[in-house]
Symmetry: C2
Subunit: 225 residues, 2 copies
């Protein structure tokens, strides 16, 4: 079983690809910050190159230490490509939270407050069965923490039909904007309302499946969401 | 001024890139569906190829008819690349909504309900000033409809500092999953709770800027959000 790399410091080392050309003050490399952004979203956007052109697909993911996993059918394009290419598939995996709309007096200074993580690297197909099971548990627990232990694990047929890609957290950066609008001094007297529109994601009331048997209570990990 | 293409039918024509290899029943090409998914999200994920590797960045966007626009500093990488490359920059622009977590009895059938749009194409730098102004209005109105008319438009200096890319809606598909979990018949008696956890995005209370002058009321287009 391949083992995810141990963190050697509290921050990722910046590289040419992870230092932005502008708004450098918005970039961050702290591991705890990167982990918190990754752990708080449901989907990532996975980019890869196919026939010379970019492809960006939304997909579920999970994190185990310094490694993220995505999965899919063994027949899906990026998963097949990663298994066929040596040493793997160059990818860019991006996760974004939109926290607020930033309404400035000038159109130019309109913006959003956001937190994002961009991971560059080579995705490898996971062939070790133990790591594959660990990754699939992480994917389910990423959706709802505690859920993997309260569901039937994949059987041999399902494991064989599922491909898993791993991507190490090595070339990684966070980027975020916080705070209010930044208008030009000469615009401060303009008569436009200015400020933030915060955005919130919440869980609606649970919708039990039509065929849920009587007597199965909502588990604690769902009540606590 | 370049004019966005007129729609020739109520649906986009599928291409080799927009027909999925699996779950074909989840794919859609209806223009109204694609437009509604595009119009309801705040950020897209823009993919392009740099030095042979994929890059995926979150960014704001706006739609005018059958064309989407993104913008950025004239110094930012994809915007610079689109201006330097002939005939433009190959991109993939993806927008995703996560509507619900799907908790099946088996780990294998866990999923999410989502709506996404993937646009493949060549992004061009907008050089016509009228189209640039139209695009910037669309970007601001995409964040909050009605806002462009209630903010100071970009001046000549700001227009010169901003690059805008256009991407026609030609090679486009939507993909969506709806409905409850799909467990295997042999799993129906397992004792795990099963159903949907709906997700909702809402607006929190407005946060006026620290320097907002007295007497400027919250405009109607913000009260109605």
């Amino acid at each position: 079983m391949s083992v995810a790399p141990e963190p050697s410091a509290t921050a990722y080392a910046p590289t040419a690809r992870t230092v932005p050309t502008r708004s450098k003050e918005r970039a961050g490399y702290d591991r705890a910050l990167v982990h918190s952004i990754l752990d708080g979203a449901y989907v990532c956007h996975l980019g890869f190159v196919r026939d010379g052109a970019p492809v960006v697909l939304p997909t579920l993911y999970g994190r185990v230490g310094e490694r993220v996993y995505v999965h899919g059918s063994t027949g899906s394009r990026p998963l097949r490509m990663a298994g066929q290419q040596d040493p793997g598939l160059p990818v860019c995996l991006t996760v974004t939270h939109v926290d607020a709309l930033v309404l400035a007096r000038s159109a130019f200074h309109h913006s959003i407050n956001y937190r994002s993580v961009v991971i560059h690297g080579i995705a490898h197909q996971v062939t070790d069965l133990d790591e594959k099971r660990l990754a699939l548990d992480a994917l389910v627990d990423h959706v709802v923490p505690g859920r993997a232990a309260d569901s039937r694990p994949a059987n041999a047929k399902e494991l064989a039909a599922t491909a898993v890609l791993s991507l190490d957290l090595a070339e990684v950066s966070a980027k975020l904007r916080t705070g209010g609008p930044n208008d030009e001094p000469e615009d401060l007297d303009l008569p436009h309302w200015t400020g933030l529109v915060p955005l919130r994601q919440s869980h609606g009331p649970l919708v039990p499946a039509d065929d849920l048997a009587d007597g199965i209570d909502v588990p604690a990990y769902l009540r606590d969401l």
